[in-house]
């Protein structure tokens, strides 16, 4: 594999994707924009209702005295970087990237020079960059939402962020990134197998939805232990949440059982690599003249 050829594949895919404003908007900007708008609206409504209730009860509001920590907002933004909305809307970019060449019959234009492995890896690298862009956009949105909270409630802003916070931030950020890329691998495999943009969009959505159901009420119905091999291996979303809780527990609780994190890591790794390997194997033997 030549680095030069892979770089050409990455550059050309990135150039093409950035020309597709709709795909970039929906996969990168839409969720953060919605988060900011939704957050500000929520704060305004909450303030109005709280003031109303305080006035009726004759109780003075004390919320303004509590500072808003921007450092915490950073960690929350990193932790929420792979939330359900981002995963779903990232599928638009993933499907465009992975199935676009089938949709527009353009593989024949790019496959004569570069190896098929490079063509796929170029797309995967660009998807990783797209995921990074979406996470940065969400982090900025999280930051804006936190500042808006402080402004709406007239609370002071602080920035407390120590070494431990920085470590958690980096780990959460990486974990969210891995989760987005892993989820988008389903789009890659589906696109390669079906040559369909719509399938690349909807199959991962349905699989993800089914997995989230199984990870919730489904666990009890199936009689699976959330910390068992079956649940961890078959439900990458559960594995992601397990790792996330290990990095930054929402509430302090008992230590996780031995080997659980390994199961979660194996799950995310397998759900990333197996679809990629499958897509590469299938793509390598695919007749690209029948698009």
């Amino acid at each position: 594999m030549s680095i030069t050829l892979l770089a050409d594949s990455v550059l050309s895919e990135a150039y093409r994707l950035t020309r597709n404003r709709m795909a970039v908007f929906w996969s990168v900007l839409f969720v953060p924009a919605l988060f900011v708008i939704g957050g500000i609206t929520y704060h305004l409504i909450t303030k109005g209702k709280t003031q109303g209730m305080a006035a009726v009860a004759g109780i003075p509001l004390t919320m303004g005295q509590q500072p808003v920590n921007l450092g915490e907002a950073l960690n929350q933004g990193a932790g929420m970087g792979a939330n359900g909305a981002i995963l779903v809307f990232m599928l638009i970019g993933a499907a465009t990237l992975y199935a676009g060449d089938y949709r527009w019959e353009t593989f024949r234009l790019i496959s004569a020079r570069n190896s098929r492995v490079n063509l796929i890896l170029g797309k995967v690298v660009v998807l990783k960059l797209l995921a990074l862009a979406a996470m940065i956009a969400f982090l900025i949105a999280s930051f804006i939402e936190t500042v808006s909270q402080a402004l709406v409630f007239a609370r002071p802003l602080t920035f407390e962020f120590d070494g431990g916070d920085a470590g958690r931030f980096v780990l959460q950020w990486l974990l969210s990134w891995v989760r987005i890329v892993q989820y988008a691998m389903l789009a890659l495999l589906t696109a390669t197998l079906t040559r369909s943009l719509l399938a690349a969009l909807f199959v991962p959505f349905v699989v993800g939805f089914a997995q989230s159901l199984l990870g919730g009420p489904g666990l009890a119905i199936l009689g699976w232990e959330p910390q068992g091999w079956a649940a961890q291996l078959l439900l990458p979303g559960l594995a992601f949440e397990t790792l996330k809780a290990a990095i930054a527990p929402a509430v302090p609780g008992p230590a996780q059982p031995d080997g659980l994190l390994i199961k979660s890591l194996i799950s995310l790794t397998l759900w990333s690599l197996v679809p990629l390997a499958g897509a590469l194997a299938w793509f390598n033997r695919q007749d690209l003249s029948k698009e």
Binding site: D8, Y15, R19, N114, S115
Partner: protein
């Protein structure tokens, strides 16, 4: 209608028959491709010389597109080998940067992401081919194919002819030594066809690019190509200089009656006559004509007139493939 076709003299560039044809730019050996029980290519051995314009002809299903797809590494042959510019074709590209840049292609009517402009498509594919973004190069090729005014329009609004032009520009953006064009004039209007013909000819004559094209428009092929290969059912049935092939492919115009009987006799003899007014056009080699006359007379047919008329690539094609091509003018 055939006799109404106004065939321009074949333009053969100076030197087209000399040293430029000495070395092969494409060579296939026993190339076979099967799809299930269908043999799209059947042991095709072909040598395409460097330089000039080379036409690959054949009726639908002859295997032209399959051949091109194998040459471009889009599909694997079932058997045999294809060598392009000295290197064996490997599916999925071989990572041979220099060789890939030396070859450009356009297979059928190209399609592009509709949200991109013509200029963006060229920049995108230049990048994919490892070329640095060079606005001057992009502008030059847009101008060469007549798309300067449409350069910044999204391709979703392009006509088929404009897409064809853009496809040709893409094939040429790397300034290759070899260009493979599948039906380059498909969907174009007559002025567009003429411009494309001029462009293809200039690629060979001015830029020294070897052009290999497939087309159903035999008149265009006759006008633009130096050599042709005629394929039928996956096999090579004829190959040579266009001028040489035409010299051997004359047709006989028979004024004889009754015409139904003439056609019936021709059918029995395995020939395909085409009725043209009160006459029949017969495509047969000259030496076989006396035998045909005897057979007709023995069947009680009166021959008023028998005349050899000017040959063209179409008559050669019909003879070699056994198919009847309806001229564009009456389609």
């Amino acid at each position: 209608m055939l006799h109404n076709l106004n065939l321009e003299p074949l333009v053969v560039p100076p030197g087209a028959r000399d040293s430029r044809f000495m070395s092969a730019v494409i060579e296939t050996r026993d190339l076979t491709k099967t799809y299930g029980t269908v043999r799209a290519l059947d042991g095709l051995s072909l040598s395409i010389p460097r330089g000039g314009v080379y036409g690959v002809l054949g009726p639908n299903g002859a295997g032209k597109s399959t051949l091109f797809r194998i040459l471009l590494g889009l599909i694997r042959p079932t058997q045999g080998e294809a060598i392009v510019m000295g290197g064996a074709v490997r599916i999925g590209g071989g990572g041979d940067v220099s060789s890939s840049r030396r070859m450009g292609s356009m297979i059928e009517t190209p399609r592009f992401p509709p949200y991109m402009t013509a200029r963006q498509v060229l920049v995108w594919l230049s990048t994919a081919h490892g070329l640095r973004s060079d606005p001057a190069r992009v502008d030059a090729w847009l101008e060469r194919v007549g798309l300067t005014e449409a350069a910044d329009r999204r391709v979703r609004g392009f006509s088929v002819g404009m897409l064809q032009r853009l496809g040709v520009a893409i094939a040429l953006i790397t300034e290759p030594e070899l260009v493979i064009l599948d039906e380059p004039t498909s969907g174009m209007d007559p002025p567009g066809i003429q411009e494309m013909r001029t462009l293809i000819r200039s690629l060979a004559d001015r830029d020294g690019i070897t052009v290999v094209l497939a087309s159903h428009q035999l008149l265009e092929v006759q006008r633009v190509c130096d050599r042709v290969a005629i394929m039928n059912r996956g096999k090579l049935v004829r190959e040579g200089l266009v001028s040489d092939l035409i010299a051997t492919g004359t047709r006989l115009r028979l004024s004889a009656g009754p015409i139904d009987k003439v056609l019936a006799v021709l059918a029995v003899l395995g020939d395909k006559g085409v009725q043209e007014g009160d006459a029949v056009l017969v495509t047969i080699p000259r030496p076989e004509a006396p035998a045909l006359f005897r057979a007709l007379i023995e069947q009680g047919i009166d021959i008023d007139e028998a005349r050899w008329i000017g040959a063209d690539l179409e008559s050669v094609f019909m003879t070699e493939t056994g198919s009847i091509q309806i001229p564009e003018a009456i389609q």
